[in-house]
Symmetry: C2
Subunit: 575 residues, 2 copies
Amino acid sequence: MDKNARLDEIFAYILNNTNVENDMHNLQEAHDFNEIHNSIEEKCNTFSNDDQKSSTFISENSNNKRPSNGDTSIGTPTTKYSNTINDKGQNSGMERLTGISEFSDPATNINDFYHQVFSNFSHLQHLADRDTKNISQGNDFFQPLEDTAQVNQNQLVNSSSIMQSKLFEENILKELLPSSPQATDNTKNNSNYHNHLTEIAIESLKRQRNQSKLIHLDSVPDFQDSKDVKIWLQKIFYPLGIEIAIERSDKSKITYKCKALKKKDEVYQNNHVHTPVNEAKDSGEMGKKKRVKSQYNTCPFRIRASYKIKRKKWEVVILNNFHSHQLKFNPDSLNYKQFKDTLREMGDIETIKKFDELEYKAQKNLPVDVDTIPCECGLTEEVQSFGVVIPSSFNCQSKPQNSSVKKFAQKKSNSENPKLSKEVLTKNLPISKVKKQSSKSVSTIHSNALENLTRDSSIEKESNNSNAFEEWENENQVLLSSGHGTVESSIMGLNSLQANRSPEIKASSMFDFNMDINEVDFTDLFLKPSKKMDGHVAKTSSENLVEESISKNNDITKDLNDLKLFDLGSNGHYM
Amino acid sequence: MDKNARLDEIFAYILNNTNVENDMHNLQEAHDFNEIHNSIEEKCNTFSNDDQKSSTFISENSNNKRPSNGDTSIGTPTTKYSNTINDKGQNSGMERLTGISEFSDPATNINDFYHQVFSNFSHLQHLADRDTKNISQGNDFFQPLEDTAQVNQNQLVNSSSIMQSKLFEENILKELLPSSPQATDNTKNNSNYHNHLTEIAIESLKRQRNQSKLIHLDSVPDFQDSKDVKIWLQKIFYPLGIEIAIERSDKSKITYKCKALKKKDEVYQNNHVHTPVNEAKDSGEMGKKKRVKSQYNTCPFRIRASYKIKRKKWEVVILNNFHSHQLKFNPDSLNYKQFKDTLREMGDIETIKKFDELEYKAQKNLPVDVDTIPCECGLTEEVQSFGVVIPSSFNCQSKPQNSSVKKFAQKKSNSENPKLSKEVLTKNLPISKVKKQSSKSVSTIHSNALENLTRDSSIEKESNNSNAFEEWENENQVLLSSGHGTVESSIMGLNSLQANRSPEIKASSMFDFNMDINEVDFTDLFLKPSKKMDGHVAKTSSENLVEESISKNNDITKDLNDLKLFDLGSNGHYM
DNA sequence: TAATGGGTGCACT
DNA sequence: AAGTGCACCCATT
Ligand SMILES: [Zn+2]
Ligand SMILES: [Zn+2]
C-alpha cells in the first residue's frame, strides 16, 4: 500500500547510506581472545563455587538429557500447574527441545564448555561455520541470516560500536550455547547468561515505552522448559513495575499480560476509565461476547512468546507497550514472592541480589524507575515522570473500551499487501555499505550498547529520557559494583568473533525473515519526546530520521504530517 | 415486600387446607419390612456378583477411610486436571468430606449394612432417632426438619401417596448411607444408589423444562470427591441431551454450564441469535467487561452444586432450566467418551448399559427425548416436541443479549426483606392437617412418584407432557426390563419408616431452611401449558392452585394478571 | 514445533 | 453468574 511504498523508499535510502564494515573492523581490533577467555573462565569458577544447587541440577539433568541452555525446571514449580505440565509437556511437545541433546556428554559442564570454546579459537570458528553451512541442521537455513540482519538493524539505529560488541557477543553466545552438541548445562552459568540478556531487555524496554506497535525482543535465551520463559520475563518486567501473568499458553506459544489489578489497587488505575459505550461495535462480525473481566483488568499490554522451530528458539514480542494503569513494583505481591522462591530454588543469586535491592528501594519509597504509562486511548494525560503530554490525536483514535487490546497484525492485511516490499527489503537491497555512525556520549554509548530491540521495520528510535536512563544507569552501576560486572565486560569481546563470519551472509539479509512487513509503523517515533534535539524532519539517514523525529516539541503531529509515512486513518490499531 | 406478603398469604392458606397425616397412615399400611429387607438384599447380592471391579474398589477404599456414599474417584480421571486436583483436594478442603468416616468398620460392605439395617428394625429406628436428637452431630440441627419439610412440600404438590413412598425411601436412604457410622463403601452398590437418584432427577428435570427460576434437586447422593458430582450430573444430563462443563469450581461450590458449542454445531444453535445491542448497560455498576465468548457459548443454563456443611451434603440447584440451543445427545463427543471411560473404571455397569442403549437410539436416529428448548429471550418459538408456543410476553422482557443469564437471587434484596415471611413459614404455621390428595392416573402416579424437585416456594406445578413422559416411561421400562426394576420397587417400601418419625418434627418445618425466600417466585407456574385442565384460576388450595394454573390456553398472561402474585415489572429476572 | 489468532474448561485466589 | 490464571484446544491460512 502507500505505507509499504513509503517504507521501501526509506529503507532503500537507509541502506544506501550506511556501512557496517567499518564497525566490524573496529570491533576486531578492540579485543583479543585471551582476555575474553580468562575473564569468562574466572567468572564461571566464581559462581560454580558459591552454591551447591548448581551441581545438583547438573547431575539431575545429565542423566537423561542435556538441556540446551535454559534454566532447568527441576524443583522449580513456577505455578501450581507446573508439575502437572512438566509431566505432560516433556512427554509430548517439549521433547523436541531436549531431544536434540541426546548425544551430549553428560560429564561436561559449562565451565568445560567455556574452556573448549575459548581456548581453541578454531573450534569456535567451526561452530560458527556450522550454522553458516546450514546443512547438518535441517531447519536452520535462515538463522545466520537473521542474526546478522538483526545486528545490522541495531547498528543502523544505535550507531555505537560498543553496543555492537554487545550484540555480537549475544549472537555468538546464543548460537553456541543452545544448539551446539558441545554445550552443557549448568544452572548457575545459565543464570548468568540469562541475566545478562535480561538486563539488556530491560534497558531496551525502558526506552521503548508507549509504543503502539510490536517490539521484538532479541537476545532471548534458550529455555529448557516453557515455564522458564515466564521466569525470564519476570526478571525483566518486575523491575519495570509490571507483574505478568499468562493469558494463554501452549506448547509452542505463550501470551502474557499484566496481572489483573485487584480492587485495592484502584489507586493505580488510571483515572479516566472509559465509560463503556456502544460495546456492540467491537468486532466486525458480531455475536462475540467477552469473558467477564473486572474494570481493573483492561490493560492492553501483551507479551507473546512463541517457539520457532526453525531457529529452535523462543521469540518474544511485546505488543502494546503501554498500560492502562500505573506501574508499580510491589514486593508484597504473592506472585513476586513465588518468583523469588523460584529464584532461590534455581540458585540464581545474582538476580536475587538485584531484586533485594529493588525491594529495598521500594521500601524506602525511592523511585524505581516506574513511570505512568498513558492509557492507550490517547486522551491527553500526563506522563508524570517526565511531564510530557501525549498528543491526543496520535496514539490512537478514540475507541470503544472493550477493544482495549490492540489487534495483532491481521492476516487479511497481510494478504492484501503482496510481498513486494518484503522482497525488496530482503533480497533486492544489497547492504554492502553501511554508514558508520558516530556515538553521542559515554552514557549514551552505554545505553546503546544494551540495545537489543528489533523493531519490525528495523527502524530504531532513540528515546533518550535522561531521567529514566540515568536512573537505570545508576542502578546498573550498583549491580556491577556488587560483583556482576565482569561477565558483561568480558563477554563483550565476543563480538569480534562475529566479524569473522562471511560478509555475504551479513549482507544478504538486513531484516528478520520472520518479520511481517505489515507490522511496521512509525507511530512511536513521535510518542516519546526527548531533550536531545529539536528540529525538522530529515530523511537523510536512519540516524537522522530517528533522532530528529524525537523532539521535545509537543507539536508532534505536525512533524508526523510532514513525514506522511502512512495513512493514520487506514492503519488504526483498534477496531 | 409485596411479593413476600403475597407468598405469606398463599402459604398460610395452603397450610391450613392440607393434611399430611392421612398419607402417612396409608404408607404404613402399604408395606411391611420383611418385604423390603428381602428384596433389597436380593438386589444387592445380584450386583455384587457380576463384576469384579467392585471388590477392587472396596479393598482400596476400606484401608484408609470409608467414603460416605460417593463414587470412588480412584482411577477415574474425569478431566485432565483430576489427578492433580485429587492430590490437593483430599489434603485440604475435601478432607472435610471424608473425615467423618474415620470410625467406620472397614470390613463391612454394603450388603452387611443392609443386613444390619433391615433385619433389625429397632436399630434402624435408632438411626433415625439419632438425627432427631441432633446432639451427637453438631451441625445437623436442621437436617431432620429439612427432610420432613421437603417431603411435605412434595406431598402438597404432587398429591400421590405412592410418590410419597418414593420420597420417603429416598430420605431414609440418604440418612442411612452417607452419614451413619455404620455405612460402608461399595462402589457397586453406591452406583446403584446413585443411579436410582439419577433417574429420579432425570424424571423431574424432564418435567420441569423451560423454568426461569431455581430448581432444587433433592435426593442428591453424597459424594466422596467433588469430581463425582460432575459424574453424577453427567448421568443425569447426558440423557437429556445436555453436555455439561464446569464453569467454575471450588472446594465447596461448583458451577456447571452447557459445554460450549463448536462452530460445526451451528446447526443446533437457535436461529434468532440476538444481535448484541447496547452491551454497555449490562450491569448497574459499569466497568465490567466480558470474557471473550463465542456466539455459540451463550446458553444460560446453569447447575450450581454447593457443599452444605450443615447437612454434610451437596446441594444441587438448576438455574435457568432452558437453553439457547437445541439439545442433542452426541455420543461422539470427546467428553462423553471420557465419561463412559470413567463409568467403566468405576464399574458402573448399570449406567453403562443405559448409555449403550442411548447410543443405540442416537445411532438409529430414534428420538432420545430431546426437545428444543426455547431461548430465554421469550420470543415466540416452537417447542418442537409438543408444538407448544411459549408466550412472548411472559418469560422475560426483551433484553440485551449479554445479560442472557438470569441473575441469581441477590444478597441485597435478602437484607432488604426482613425475615418476616420466613418466620411465618417456618414457625408460625403448624401443619397439623394436610389435605389428602387424589391421584390422577396410574402413569401420572408413577411420574409423581419420582418427583423429587423442590421448588423454591415449595409450590409444585404439574407439567404433564404425555409425549415426553410416555417416551420417558417407555425408556424406563426398557431399563427396568434389563434388570433394574427391583431396586426401585423394593426400596420404595422404605417410606413407611419415615412415618415413624416424630410428628412434631414433620410439622415443625415445611420448608427447606437453606432456601432463600427471595428466590421464590411463581413465574414458572405459567411457563408450561399442559392439557390437563382449562379454566379459571382458583386459590382455594395448593392443589388447585397448581393444577389450575396449568393450562393449555396460550393466553396465560391473563391468568397471571388475575393472580397478581407479584409485580412482574419489579421482579424481572433479567437486568 | 508450520504460523498465528482465539475460545474455553476449570481450578486457584 | 466471583474474576482470572493457565492450558488444552480449535480454526484459518
Ligand atoms: Zn499493564
Ligand atoms: Zn444449554
